[in-house]
């Protein structure tokens, strides 16, 4: 029982971090960035390359991964999202194609086989009789720090509030002197960075492989869809629902079924309540 | 005599807001009814309720004495009532002919697949609303606002409508286009079509209606001749704002 609670909390923290970047894009531009999972993958691989193949300090690896994520986010906004001018379906299709291209790119550079990432912080500790690796503990703590940081940023800075404004009403924000294009660009950059950092931790929790982007993408989709548009709290809550569901299913039913309930949750929520459990209703 | 369209005690609520408040009115066959009211009075909501695009909380809608409140939008249209929208909604990448064709289609997959389209009728409808021969094969993306309105009429007529609900048909038109559309409506009135009309352009609307009702906050506040409704104290107060 303790095991489940601890595992659930740690996994949920990680999922919340992963979903944040995806949620930002969805709430600002109303587009589903299906290449989001690929940020995680590339982040993981960049970290692997810098810290394990080049042997540089881990912190540089994480910084490099984040930088790479930010650059990818910015490029994607400039080269794909902006030229398609808000055609959501086109953005989704092209980001899905892009994700597969990035997957193939990773195969090209690193090969097909999956790679094991050394723990970022080695060691195991006991909490209430449950074995917890320092690695996932640190991942969860850093996730929380980043999430709280993001929350403060969105609430208290000018850019953050501009992001909120654009997410609620792009035209209204533009009239109030906010440049939605710039806000979008910044958001894509932040989202890329968050994804890449999340990817480093996610990879150290599972493993690095060219197809690793699908799982976190679907989890992010589920969390954001179920949590509702533009709700950091909703994202957090649903990240915990999904995280705990997975841990419980793995512990009590069968490991292969870990994703089944996530999928069912997506389907039921979308069909019955498309605005999500905690989202605001959208006027058209 | 049964009315062509009769609305009885219609109520529609959006959360706490009452958009249609116990509204009753009727239109007899061949009559043209003006529906006026200030912005946000709930005029468009009434149309959406009649068409079944929104479902009322209470009340009934009858067409030629037959209740249609439980029917789907498609079924209501086949019973002879159809509407236009404030902003025309054509199929942007289809030609004028194909747009009209969609209106003429029977609501049956079998007939859609095996039946043939009636080209002569398509052309006839396009010409009858004042579109030119050259317009027919044109993509609707190339049409002017006035021509888009005409196309809406053609598609509405194609559905076999006898009662037309016109929502702001003069919006966005040049004065030349307004008189063309007005002429078209007069023409259709002479042919015996029934109209319910919403417009902010009261001078353009006046000659086109037999009778007028005014609503505010979804409730009926006045009815009678166009002039008498406009002269009504409550209506004036509603327009001026309270």
């Amino acid at each position: 029982m303790t095991q489940i609670i601890i595992q659930g909390l740690l996994l949920s923290g990680l999922y919340a971090l992963i979903a944040m970047g995806f949620m930002l894009i969805f709430s600002i531009g109303r587009v589903l960035n299906l290449a989001y999972g690929a940020y995680l993958m590339v982040g993981g691989y960049v970290y692997f390359w810098v810290s394990q193949q080049l042997g540089l300090p881990q912190i540089i690896g994480i910084a490099a991964a984040t930088m790479m994520g930010v650059i990818m986010g910015l490029l994607k906004h400039r080269l794909i999202v902006k030229p398609l001018k808000g055609d959501h379906v086109a953005v989704e299709i092209s980001t899905l194609i892009l994700a597969v291209v990035m997957q193939a790119g990773v195969v090209l550079v690193f090969g097909d086989a999956s790679k094991i990432l050394l723990p970022i912080v080695p060691g195991v500790t006991q909490i209430e009789g449950a074995a917890v690796t320092y690695n996932i503990l640190v991942a969860a703590i850093i996730s929380w720090i980043i999430i709280i940081g993001l929350y403060v940023f969105v609430r208290n800075t000018y850019t953050g509030r501009a992001m909120q404004a654009v997410s609620m009403d792009e035209k209204g924000a533009a009239i109030s002197g906010i440049d939605p294009d710039r806000v979008n660009l910044i958001t894509w950059g932040i989202s890329g960075g968050l994804g890449a950092v999340g990817g480093v931790f996610f990879a150290s929790y599972t493993q690095l492989s060219p197809t690793m982007w699908v799982g976190p993408l679907i989890i992010s989709v589920a969390i954001v869809i179920v949590g509702g548009i533009g709700s950091i709290m909703g994202t957090l809550i649903v990240a915990h629902i999904i995280g705990f569901l997975e841990v419980i299913v793995v512990a009590k039913l069968a490991p292969e079924l870990r994703g089944v309930f996530t999928m069912l949750l997506i389907i039921f929520v979308l069909v019955l309540r498309p605005q999500g459990l905690f989202g605001r209703e959208e006027a058209h | 005599m049964t009315a062509a369209l009769e609305v009885r005690h219609l109520v529609k609520k959006f959360g706490g807001l009452t958009a249609t408040d116990n509204l009753s009115f009727s239109v007899s066959t061949g009559e043209s009814l003006g529906l006026i009211g200030p912005n946000g009075a709930g005029k468009t909501t009434v149309f959406s309720l009649i068409m079944g695009e929104l479902i009322q909380n209470a009340g009934t809608i009858h067409l030629d004495g037959v209740e249609i409140s439980k029917l789907s939008t498609a079924q209501r249209i086949k019973k002879g009532v159809s509407r236009t929208y404030q902003v025309p909604r054509p199929f942007a990448e289809l030609t004028v002919r194909e747009n009209i064709r969609v209106g003429l289609m029977p609501n049956s997959v079998r007939q859609m697949v095996f039946g043939n389209s009636d080209k002569a009728r398509e052309t006839e409808l396009a010409l009858s609303v004042g579109l030119s021969e050259a317009d027919i094969e044109r993509n609707v993306g190339e049409l002017s606002m006035g021509d888009l309105r005409k196309l809406e009429f053609a598609r509405t007529l194609a559905t076999g409508a006898k009662i037309m609900l016109l929502d702001e048909v003069f919006a966005g038109l040049t004065s030349g286009e307004i008189s063309m559309i007005a002429e078209l409506i007069q023409d259709l009135r002479d042919q015996g079509f029934t109209f319910v009309m919403v417009s902010h352009d009261l001078p353009a609307m006046e000659p086109l209606v037999d009778r007028t009702i005014a609503i505010e906050r979804g409730a009926l506040i006045a009815q009678g001749s166009f002039a008498s409704v406009l002269a009504d104290e409550t209506v004036r107060a509603a327009y001026l704002g309270t």
Partner: protein
Amino acid sequence: MNLRWYHFLLWAAFAATLMLMPELVSKGTLRTMIFACYLAIFAVSWDLLSGRTGYISFGHPFLIGIGAYTTAILSKRFDVPLELSIPIAVVVTMIGGLIVLLPALRIKGSYFALVTLAYMELIYQLTQVVRPDLTGGTRGISGIETLTRGAVNGYYLAATLLIILTIFSWALMRTRIGTALWAIGMNEESVRGSGLSTTKLKCFAFLASAFVAGLGGAFYVHYLGSIAPRALFDINFLFTILVAVLIGGAGTIIGPVMGAFFLVFLLEWLRPWLPGAERYFIYGLIALVIYMYEPKGIIRIFSNLLGKLRGANK
């Protein structure tokens, strides 16, 4: 339906080219051609549902998978003859898919795409766990009875199926229902406002699509002789179908067929330089560039060129 003499001519040329192919190319290339034919069938199936209506399906492998698994399980585990198991598979795909996806047809745009994607992942995970004695679990089923022997016969079968299904779908889309489906993609409310039940139309498009997907999936599995969940219910497989349609030109039926052949030949052509999965890198990039440049696909690029040539001749 408005058929012209040159339609017959072009279709005859299309069929003849496909049928003559075994005389022209090597056995190895023929195997690639077989894959191209099945990919084209799947692309046509996708196009029937999504190409015109704009209801993007990310779950087509799910439909193809139902057809393939149904006939594979029936023939392998219950010794049902193929003449029976294939039609059953098609019916199961149509009915099963409809029951599952019907609620999803209410929701629009991105959300429809996501629900279909979720279905694909769901069935991927379920086939591995639920009744592995039937589905073969993660490893799938092998030693499934095949319909033909050898590349040449396999090719004739695939090509015939492709020709029939393409002409069927093309003809269907030239009727009024094709126009109505385009109209849904442009403005669904107005279609409803024209007195048509869009639910009925979408169901029809879905059933037509599921019919082609189920048939294609069933024949494909009886060509391959084996089936595994990861080969079918996979984003890469979805990607290949999607890219074939988009490169070719969505909504046109012929475009997706062209796109499928274009893709397969691109892969084949890249093989000497990039023998591994890296080919997908180039292939995806080309797809992305074409899609960004002309979302209506190569068929539109061709017709624009043709239009310019005609314009120049005048």
